[in-house]
Symmetry: C2
Subunit: 110 residues, 2 copies
DNA sequence: CGAATGTTTGCAAGTTTAGCCAAATGGGCA
DNA sequence: TGCCCATTTGGCTAAACTTGCAAACATTCG
């Protein structure tokens, strides 16, 4: 794989990596189904230090998954692309597939 | 976020994290568009140590994205779910969106 | 069996990431 | 201006990830 090709995959991996964390996944999911939220609201939902949540949001913003907008003293974040829900659907497929295979191992012979 | 909810997102994040690496993304992409490949073929395409590629494949297998099958001396890997291409499509959307915004910053005023 | 080929695993070093506390910044308001 | 609230950033430590080399395993072939 030449440097150019690697760079292409690296750019894509960065975006995926931004979602590869439980808290960030939760944040994306929450923004996807409930619309824009300010950092304080999200922090309360997550239940972690506000600085931690802020950093997670900064990571998502850095790769272009979310965008922020200041409203007075608060900063609101919202999804920038809709298709992230496809991620969830596919992940569900994998989990479901895993479950089916695990059950097969329990019930029948290898 | 209670422990149960966190565990749910954690399980999903693990699957996403498996794809959050340039080499593994390449491997998934290759398997998606060219079908099953053995470790040696993939190793040559990637251009890294075979032990490294083997480990990456093991990670993908560990979360259920790929499965392996021995054929004589070689081990062939193949995708276990089709929808991973949705990942790529969405990532492209994000990249495209980023590009549009960058151009807007260049051309017009903030 | 012994050699050759293909793959996985143990190990060690270097790099990255997550989380918290404290300090700094930005905006609204008396 | 000075204070308060919301958010971000710096600094630090512990944990996780990545990688190549070498050794161990697996399988085929002579």
């Amino acid at each position: 794989m030449d440097a150019n090709t690697f760079a292409k995959y690296e750019a894509r991996a960065k975006i995926i990596k931004a979602m590869a964390h439980p808290t960030r996944l939760f944040l994306v999911d929450e923004l996807a189904r409930s619309g824009p939220r300010c950092v304080c609201e999200l922090t309360e939902m997550v239940g972690a230090d506000i600085s931690t949540v802020s950093r997670h949001l900064a990571i998502l913003k850095g790769v272009g998954i979310v965008e922020d907008q200041r409203r007075g003293a608060q900063v609101y974040y919202r999804l920038r692309v809709q298709c992230v829900l496809d991620f969830f659907n596919c992940v569900e497929s994998v989990l479901k597939c895993n479950l089916v295979d695990q059950r097969r191992l329990l019930v029948s012979e290898p």
